[in-house]
């Protein structure tokens, strides 16, 4: 059914958008590297593929006049999800262009900002690309070479969004969300490869608990404030 396909694709786009944001946040910091630039490029391309696929699917669905009002309402809701994702993606792409330009990696006099982040982001990128491990095969001047591509891609995305607005008549404010306030607390979280029992994230919140394996709310036993070693 078109709806299920749509939802799956939107979920994928949503995931890639979130990962892309994490990668852009690392730009310009001490986490920045050639690998990060390559990760950004790959994630971006994937996001665009998903965007085009989603757009095609949703436009065909919404242009169909024979669908019922319920279906139409659902597609409009999916449309709002899609356009919000695209907005976020566009903003992040623009920012990555600016920061990328401000922080070229090869210039010795340009220092990266000492943000405290030093680790790599390959796990985040792998998540975005839905692979186990990232392969790095780009040239060593990717930090400057990619910027031109990025610029044209940003224009493409803007154009696509404009076209979308024109073709499909959806009033985003009329959409009613399915999720209630606090919905993020209710559903299950996937068990990712993360640590157990982190004690504090900043000195000010000593009693904070990140919630073990990521399950929160109902399952209480996991919130043991132990000095256990981190499993990374």
């Amino acid at each position: 059914m078109g709806k299920e396909e749509c939802k799956t694709m939107l979920d994928a786009l949503n995931k890639v958008t979130a990962c892309y944001r994490h990668l852009v946040i690392a730009l310009g910091s001490t986490s920045d590297s050639q690998n990060l630039r390559e990760e950004l490029k790959k994630t971006r391309k994937k996001a665009q593929e998903l965007a085009v696929a989603n757009r095609t699917k949703l436009t065909t669905l919404l242009k169909d006049k024979t669908i019922s009002t319920e279906d139409r309402a659902e597609y409009e809701r999916l449309w709002v999800l899609f356009s919000s994702s695209m907005e976020l993606l566009e903003v992040d792409m623009k920012r990555s262009l600016e920061i990328g330009q401000d922080f070229p990696l090869k210039v010795p006099t340009r220092h990266l900002i000492q943000t405290g982040m030093t680790g790599s982001t390959n796990a985040v990128a792998a998540r975005a690309m839905s692979v186990q491990n990232m392969k790095y095969e780009a040239d060593s001047n990717i930090d400057t070479a990619d910027l031109r591509d990025l610029q044209s891609e940003i224009t493409q995305v803007s154009q696509m969004m404009e076209e979308m607005e024109m073709k499909v008549q959806v009033a985003p404010w009329a959409v009613v969300a399915k999720q209630e306030a606090g919905a993020e607390l209710k559903s299950n979280m996937s068990v990712g490869n993360s640590s157990v029992g982190v004690i504090s994230i900043c000195e000010e919140e000593p009693k904070d608990d990140e919630g073990g394996n990521g399950r929160e709310g109902s399952s209480a036993p996991n919130h043991s404030i132990t000095l256990s070693l981190c499993l990374l």
């Binding site: 730009l27 709002v80 401000d102 982040m117 981190c230």
Partner: protein, 440 residues
């Protein structure tokens, strides 16, 4: 921040953003920049923490540092809500470029909502008070995007877990610091805006209906919109209209009397109407109400010097027990008024005045309109005839007068030489004769 303050803030700081970024980059230089130390958090060690210690000596350095912190380029690791540089061993860290403040990247509510949702997940629903308020507010106003916000929050939360622990810690601090700058926790209560929201609102159909009613009632009485009798003095140079409608004229016009029936306010504001009403009240032996009301008006609009005296006089005449013209107001109003009179001011009698006004309006006014006094006045009221332009002497325009003078002068000059002074005096006499007729 209000919109205009935001613009000013951006404008003012645009220059500083540019310079601040340059300074920040220089601070990163391993040789000439700021030295950093690792931060220990139980078992985690996170590098690149700086202190404000060295700033103690140079006030400029300290103010620059404070500015960088308040803008969000550097954030404190302890006491994260207090955006200042402390000249002690407290730790700070540089903010990642993504979270730097610049004009081109406006701070979006969507991002804040996603952040709050993530925080909600992390804190398992126990948000701080201001965060909870903001969350509820955003949930209401961004409801159509809420599905997206929840989805994105969950995905961002999961993606963050893919990083190593020290980086996770740093990221959380960075994000939190960003929102402390752009959505500060303490907000002044906007009393003015809250009050204006609570103001009673009238449906436009009701207010427009009232306007229509007013216009239809008064259109006949408006000299600009309809004929006024006998004539509009500005058009016909005939002042009968003003003479007939003098404040204390003996016999009012019919139009004027009709206006008294529109509302009690009209009756009272017209001196002739008030007189008529006073006469009626005298016959009913309830003249003290109007007298009191007039006294209050006098107090309100009178000079400040005479205020105390007037207030006392009014009290003695109308309000005191056993007063000669005692007015009947309810106990509560009397209490308030007497209490207020201890320290009299212009508006001390407002409550009592309103009470009496409403009394007269609801009670006496209705009876007045049905009374013989009013009916008599109505019968006697005149309806002047329309002005007949026949009797009007049109005034000569000065241009024509001058032309005539010139013609006469030319005629004089054409004929035999005559004594000029005689001619001039004759002309000036003629001019004086014509004067009173057209100089009104």
């Amino acid at each position: 921040m209000t919109f205009s303050r935001k613009i000013l803030h951006n404008y003012y700081f645009f220059f500083f953003f540019f310079q601040a970024e340059k300074v920040l980059l220089e601070m990163q230089d391993p040789c000439t920049g700021v030295k950093s130390q690792p931060q220990r958090l139980v078992i985690t060690i996170i590098p690149h923490a700086i202190t404000g210690n060295k700033n103690r000596s140079l006030p400029q350095a300290r103010s620059l540092g404070s500015m960088l912190v308040s803008l969000g380029y550097i954030y404190p690791l302890q006491d994260h809500k207090n955006l200042v540089i402390k000249p002690d061993a407290s730790l700070y860290r540089f903010q990642t470029p993504y979270f730097w403040p610049t004009q081109q990247w406006p701070v979006e509510d969507t991002d804040y909502a996603i952040y709050l949702a993530k925080r909600n997940i992390r804190k398992k629903g126990m948000l701080e008070l201001h965060e909870q308020e903001q969350y509820n507010h955003l949930h209401k106003w961004m409801n159509h995007k809420w599905d997206f916000i929840v989805m994105q929050a969950k995905e961002q939360y999961r993606a963050a877990k893919e990083r190593k622990k020290p980086d996770r810690v740093v990221f959380d601090c960075q994000e939190r610091a960003y929102w402390v700058v752009h959505r500060p926790p303490v907000r002044k209560p906007m009393i003015f805006t809250q009050q204006s929201i609570m103001r009673p609102r009238v449906k436009s159909s009701v207010s427009i209906g009232a306007l229509v009613k007013y216009c239809s009632t008064y259109s006949g009485h408006d000299p600009f919109l309809s004929k006024c009798l006998p004539s509009n003095p500005w058009l016909t140079d005939d002042t009968t209209f003003w003479a007939l409608n003098m404040p204390n004229v003996e016999i009012p016009t019919k139009m004027r009397v009709e206006r008294w029936t529109f509302s009690f306010k009209e009756l009272l504001s017209d001196p002739r109407g008030r007189d008529d009403f006073r006469l009626f009240l005298k016959k009913e032996f309830s003249g003290e109400n109007l007298a009191f009301w007039e006294g209050c008006e006098d107090l309100k609009w009178g000079t400040a010097v005479a205020m105390k005296e007037k207030a006392e006089h009014i009290y003695k005449t109308f309000l005191a027990r056993g007063a000669p013209r005692w007015i009947n107001i309810d106990g509560k109003t009397m209490e308030i008024t007497v209490k207020g009179l201890k320290h009299p001011h212009r508006y001390v009698l407002d409550a009592a005045q309103t009470h009496i006004y409403m009394l007269m309006k609801k009670d006496s006014y209705g009876r007045y309109l049905k009374s013989p006094v009013f009916k008599e006045t109505l019968k006697k009221a005149i309806c002047p005839d329309e002005h007949r332009f026949k009797n009007r002497r049109p005034s000569l325009s000065p241009i024509i007068i001058r032309q005539q003078e010139q013609e006469q002068r030319a005629k004089m000059a054409a004929s035999a030489p005559v004594d000029i002074t005689q001619v001039m005096s004759k002309l000036s006499k003629q001019g004086k004769e014509m004067g009173p007729r057209h100089s009104k």
